[in-house]
């Protein structure tokens, strides 16, 4: 079956611009996660959704980052006033429930010039 998909696969933007990254989870998965993977590092947790609500957003680095999941399926990660330090691979994962195996998408590579 279809796995987790993320679009775009690559995004290049200029400092100060706004970007949106999209995640399509596996159908029926109620839990959705966003992670950020900087060069040479392991993924770091950003935010977790249970259904439509953000149950844990403790990993978001600052208020320029925001994510939504309005219908409990597709999620969008939004970054305002991008900075060069935001350059990273943004990973999305979904799971049936919070404690089931997380399935990861291929990621979106964001480059801020």
């Amino acid at each position: 079956g279809a796995g987790v998909s993320q679009t775009p696969s690559n995004k290049v933007t200029e400092k100060g611009k706004y970007v949106e990254l999209r995640c399509d989870p596996i159908s029926g998965h109620t839990a959705l996660y966003w992670y950020r993977q900087s060069l040479g590092q392991g993924p770091e947790f950003l935010i977790y959704f249970q259904g439509t609500g953000a149950a844990d957003d403790s990993g978001l680095p600052n208020d320029r980052f925001f994510a939504v999941r309005p219908e409990g399926s597709v999620s969008t990660l939004k970054i305002q006033r991008t900075e060069r330090g935001d350059s990273a691979v943004y990973l999305c994962a979904s799971s049936l429930t919070r404690y089931n195996e997380q399935f990861f998408g291929p990621g979106t590579r964001l480059t801020v010039l």
Partner: protein
């Protein structure tokens, strides 16, 4: 706080020789531990998981890991490396208590190279 430390950033082996990727964990409770593999331009894939059942865990593609509480280790092994094993490997602990319960905490990764 829970954490994992991967002791080697890069491991290089010859095809057909054993693989050992080392991981130590820190946790006040009995942890849930995982190994994930990341091939270039592909998503992270779960190799195996430990959740307080058998201490020797078998995973996909011939990999296994042993949970050793006395050493706080969860090393990943494979008897014979294959070229297709070349990838980045992440040791992961799941936060099982506190406000971040359920979140995955990743190590920095070990890049495995396999020489012909």
């Amino acid at each position: 706080a829970q954490s994992v430390t991967q002791l080697d950033s890069h491991v290089s082996v010859s095809e057909g020789t054993p693989v050992l990727l080392r991981c130590n964990y820190s946790s006040s409770y009995s942890p849930s531990l995982f190994w994930y593999v990341q091939h270039p331009n592909k998503g992270l894939q779960l190799l195996l998981k430990y959740t307080s059942a058998a201490t020797l865990v078998k995973g996909i593609n011939g990999f296994e890991a042993e949970f050793k509480k006395s050493e706080t280790s969860f090393h990943l092994t494979k008897p014979s490396a294959h070229m297709s094993d070349a990838a980045e490997y992440f040791c992961v602990v799941r936060a099982d208590y506190g406000g971040s319960q359920g979140n995955l905490i990743f190590g920095k990764g070990t890049k495995l190279s396999v020489k012909p």
